[in-house]
Amino acid sequence: MVAAWAFAMAALITLVPANMNPILIFSVAGNYQENLIITGVEGLWMQGFQPLGALVFFSAILAPVIYLLSVSYVCACWTLQRRLPFLGVAFRLAEALEPWNLLPVFAIACIVSVVKLRTLGTVNWEPGSLWVLATAVLTMIAVQCFDRKCAELYVEGSK
């Protein structure tokens, strides 16, 4: 559980540069475009596909943040053996958002998109994609370390 806390915190920290830095730069005939995670959401939104934009925003940006925050919170409570308020809420959030933890899928999608775009123009990797990859790996380790049963027993004991 301590390990899960550490990895979740690390993932939260890497999530910041992953969202602030461009993932890739695409250029055709001298024109170029920087590309952040949020740019795709904007693009879909402006093309009239608001539901899809919202879906991408939720699953690639919002859900990982909330999920990692609640996992770290539950792990912190367990590690410090202190029943802080909203422990139950945090645990239920972590449970509910587990299937929405889609950053690893996003990381793979980045790789595929680079491959796909290479036939269309020049694509350059940017540090942002490495941060996304780092976040994805750290999140997966945190999920593996997070002892669901143990957390559940602890949370339910607080009632």
Partner: protein, 166 residues
């Protein structure tokens, strides 16, 4: 939420997923315009294009994630729900359910791919990527199957059918 409601909801979502699967795969998900050439791609078309450019491993990943996973999910969900309440292959059903939850999210790769391509393809006349209606159906289908698998809890596999009320 009672188990009966969960079961009914899961059935409804699976059925919705099956219906949405058809437009999701036959309508184009995006239109790519590069230097005047316009090309509409369906989900399968995107895979074929990757395959044609010689990138077999990448094509295989996308094929698995966005073509095989949804079919496997829909078929095995129907199987799980069809056998609900019976005691046939209960432990196997439990394994299948766990597997479903684990692979479930990979179909989202297509939506993320679209989002990245749309963001990149905003260079005006030179290159543009436009999302198409198929992507909406595809996204809806993924959400339906995700929830259908999530809402049906493992312990429900072991339940005996409720006695029929007269």
């Amino acid at each position: 939420m009672t188990d009966q409601v969960r079961y009914e909801l899961s059935k409804a979502l699976t059925l919705a997923g099956i219906i949405l699967y058809i437009p999701a795969n036959f309508l184009p998900v995006m239109t790519i315009t590069i230097t005047g050439q316009v090309e509409s791609l369906t989900v399968m078309g995107g895979v074929m294009e990757l395959y044609d450019t010689g990138l077999v491993p990448v094509a295989a990943v996308v094929f698995l994630a966005s073509v095989v996973v949804p079919v496997v999910k829909l078929v095995s969900l129907s199987w799980l729900l069809g056998l609900h309440g019976s005691d046939i292959a209960a432990s196997r059903r439990m394994n299948v359910h766990g597997f479903l939850i684990r692979i479930g999210t990979w179909a989202m790769i297509d939506i993320f791919l679209l989002s990245i391509l749309v963001a990149v393809g905003q260079l005006g006349i030179l290159a543009s990527v436009q999302a198409e209606a198929g992507a909406l159906f595809f996204g809806a289908m993924i959400i339906c199957t995700l929830y259908a698998a999530d809402i049906y809890k493992t312990h429900m596999i072991w339940q005996q059918p409720l006695p029929k009320s007269q």
